[in-house]
């Protein structure tokens, strides 16, 4: 359906602004279908979900349930495993909270060096509370996961492996299937942060066998403020909810309460119905993930890497097998200064440690420039970035 770049760009009204938008790992532009779906819901009369007993409430609930099914199906599971959260960060915190009682002093949690702070700090916190230890799976010199090193760290004390599917700094893709196989042999749970991967790689949670996986709407062309937390049937049943309150209680007595079964247990408070509807619409429009099989986006990425590498004074980080993201630095100019100057010239990208400070420190850097691609980026965006980096280097007299 989407094989023509102008046709694709026309589906994203945010691109009418005359900039080269290369900050998609932070937030993508929203697909028109998501905007339309939310507009239709909001302008058609809305209600809270799961509360009212009138026809509008019934319609709301139908749309909310349908959205849940669509989002769940996008990653290969049924709706009964898909919890809506406000963000991936909330989802990962909820999972860490829910698993804390499974940890004993001396137990180990493995994370990778690639983790975003959202998949690091919740584990550090519960480890501290429970006397457990967080250990970091290493990186190879080619900036991929050192799988042998990671496997060697797994033992009978390993209870949880929390790992990203795709680095938000380097685009490195991690071998989730191998990690899951090894983890399950020792009885460890695997929690996957698919925030970046969801827009770039096909994901089938059932095939991968991961115990929990999270991804967000606003990085997949949908609205902000909503994300999915996919849990195994065991975790749906056994995990304690982090947020308690309205909408998730089955029975309440003077001094106790029983949670509702299934996903509702984890959705205390009024749900973001329009967000869920927009999320589902965006995924429907974009499925299958556009970069599968080395699609157009990867051609752009290859060209971006080649062109950036050709500029004297630019160092590009290019792990084998990476997708969607290119990090680079300019000798002698701080990444924030370059990004600031690029921004003034209509090129939007991110600079800094990208909320992955341990990885950036491992690279012995104070930050990188990160160009992150989406389905709508084209050669003009690449040219705008590359020509302006050249100009900045030339005029900044490094």
């Amino acid at each position: 359906m989407m094989n023509d770049v102008e046709n694709i760009r026309a589906q994203f009204p945010g691109l009418k602004r005359d900039v080269a938008y290369l900050d998609n790992a932070a937030t993508t532009q929203m697909h028109q279908s998501a905007i339309d779906a939310m507009h239709a819901y909001l302008s058609g009369g809305r209600s809270n979900a799961g509360r009212g007993l009138y026809p509008v409430a019934e319609e709301t609930m139908k749309q909310y349930d349908a959205a849940r099914s669509t989002v769940a199906n996008f990653v290969g599971v049924d709706a009964g495993r898909c919890v809506f959260t406000k963000s991936v960060t909330e989802g990962l915190n909820a999972i860490a909270f829910g698993l804390r009682d499974r940890l004993q002093p001396g137990d180990e949690i493995l994370v990778s060096v690639f983790e975003h702070h959202a998949n690091l700090l919740p584990w550090r916190r519960i480890a501290k509370e429970r006397g457990a230890i967080v250990k970091t799976m290493p990186m190879t010199s080619s900036l991929t996961l050192d799988l042998d090193g990671a496997l060697a760290m797994m033992n009978d004390r390993t209870k949880i492996i929390a790992v990203t599917m795709m680095s938000n700094v380097l685009g490195t893709v991690l071998p989730i299937a191998q990690i899951v196989d090894a983890a399950h042999q020792i009885g460890a749970l695997v929690v996957v942060d698919a925030t970046q991967a969801a827009a770039h790689l096909p994901i089938n949670v059932a095939d991968l066998g991961v115990d929990a996986l999270v991804f967000s709407s606003h990085k997949c062309y949908g609205p902000a403020g909503i994300a999915a937390m996919i849990l195994s049937p065991d975790l749906i049943d056994s995990m304690e909810p982090m947020i308690v309150g309205g909408g998730m209680v089955d029975r309440i007595t003077a001094d106790d309460a029983v949670w509702r079964p299934g996903v509702e247990k984890f959705e205390g408070g009024s749900p973001n119905v329009e967000g869920a509807i927009g999320f589902a619409a965006a995924l429907t429009a974009m499925a299958p993930p556009p970069y599968e099989g080395g699609g157009r986006g990867e051609v752009s990425r290859s060209r971006l890497i080649t062109d950036l590498k050709s500029i004297p004074g630019v160092t590009v980080f290019d792990p084998p097998g990476a997708v969607g993201i290119v990090s680079f630095v300019v000798d002698g100019i701080h990444p924030h200064d370059v990004a600031d100057m690029l921004g003034q010239r209509g090129v939007c990208l991110r600079a800094g440690n990208h909320c992955a400070a341990p990885l950036v420190e491992k690279l012995s850097l104070n930050g990188t420039l990160r160009a992150s691609l989406a389905v709508y980026n084209d050669e003009r965006d690449i040219e705008a970035l590359v020509s302006n980096v050249k100009e900045i280097i030339k005029r900044a007299k490094i």
Partner: protein, 119 residues
Amino acid sequence: MLLEYENLLALANRQNHRGPMADFSISATAVNASCGDECTVWMKIIDDAIVDVSFEAKGCVISRASAAVIADAAIGLIGRIGPMGGQDVRALLGVAVSPLRERCLTTPLKALHDALAKL
């Protein structure tokens, strides 16, 4: 912005007031974790007056240029600098700095205030 960058770079590379001070009265370090900026300020205080300031700053051009102009401005001030903020530093720099760079701009100022708070 490129011309502004060149002006900022000139300030950032200036050697005035650079490096640790041997006989300082107070000192503090501030960091801007998101940018990797780090600034240490040393001050000599006599009779409640700032008689000398030196600093070491590393990081982006805005934080380094900010440290340079703040050091110039602080010398001779009597007592605490008071409610000096990002707008004051912008005025000292004489260039437009985006609000998105506020922490870059004010990290040296935070070091200065943290040091003065030790008096």
